[in-house]
Amino acid sequence: MSVEYRAVQWNRAKLVYDAVLLAAVALFIGGFAAIAWRLAPPQSQPGALDIWLRAFGVCAFLMLTVVLSIGPLARLDPRFLPLLYNRRHFGVLTFCVAAIHAWFMFDYYWVLNDLPKLAAQFTNWPAYGKFIGFPFKTLGLAALLILFLMASTSHDFWLNFLSPWIWKALHMAVYLAYGLVVIHVALGIMQYERTPLIPLMLAAGFGAVVALHLLAGWRERRIDRGAALGGDGWIAVGPPGEIPDQGARITAAPGGERIAVFRDGNIIGALTNLCAHQNGPLGEGRVVDGCVTCPWHGFQYRLEDGCAPPPFTEKLVTYRVRVNRGVVEVDPRPLPPGTPAAITCPPGTV
């Protein structure tokens, strides 16, 4: 953990991120409503509500598409990492926009004094056996509940309380929510509107997210297969000079977690690739002032022993390293967290 880190903190980067995000959302929704109003001026209050309902709905879909693209984009190209820094705020705002969409839908029926009709759509049990005609609002409501669960547990308190492993597993429910949203739109408004923009938006958005996730997963398969073990069970990483200075090479034993082998000048050390905060990819970070710095949120650990600098107490698993005939090797059997294991390269090997 960085010495500047506090659990709840508004720093400049977060403020800029949130300001840009809010401005983009306001601009999109305002622009959508203005264009819709101009193309077909609403003749009644329900008509006006319908425009806002659609504006917030489209915005929520696009935001969810972007949120789900940030992870694979950052894995494919580190230039997208700044987007990942404050992704949780993006996710919470997405829930808020989706909730406002749902509120406008409720308001629409309220103004028409037709709330029983809305309720009947959720309880039309025979319709649940159909495909076309399925109560699509139920799908949207289910997605909204998932987004609510994620937004309400997005704070670091829940991350620590649940542990990064469970928290991450829980938050992977967003994929299910996205699938529900796509079908919600496909069985809903796409069945009533002739415009090709709706199927195009769904196909392009969902297609892009799927392609990015499949591509990122395919590229990472090679590392996850694991490196071949030497006769004594150690893994060859490469000559010290091939490990980028103040950077790392990532390796793994077959079936094991990834190991990040760092070089800081002539010091070589190996840590787990998993940050203690959110299991971020430490090996894609840099060594700053002797500390490995996570590329996601800046948590820091000393290279020599995997301990966060005082006053913080996080400790990472370390691994033994050695230089054998000019090649750095790592023992994939983990040492207890916080065990000093870094070495100084013999002269002339870097």
Partner: protein, 36 residues
């Protein structure tokens, strides 16, 4: 991410792409638009 999470990712996305893609394609194919 942990290895287990990456494996889940790799298993989930092809399945999700197939299921949702099929649902979307069928919804598009069978849609009966109201008269203009």
């Amino acid at each position: 991410m942990r290895r287990a999470h990456r494996l889940v990712h790799r298993a989930v996305w092809p399945f999700l792409a197939l299921a949702v893609g099929l649902g979307f394609a069928l919804a598009l194919f069978f849609r009966t638009l109201p008269p203009a």
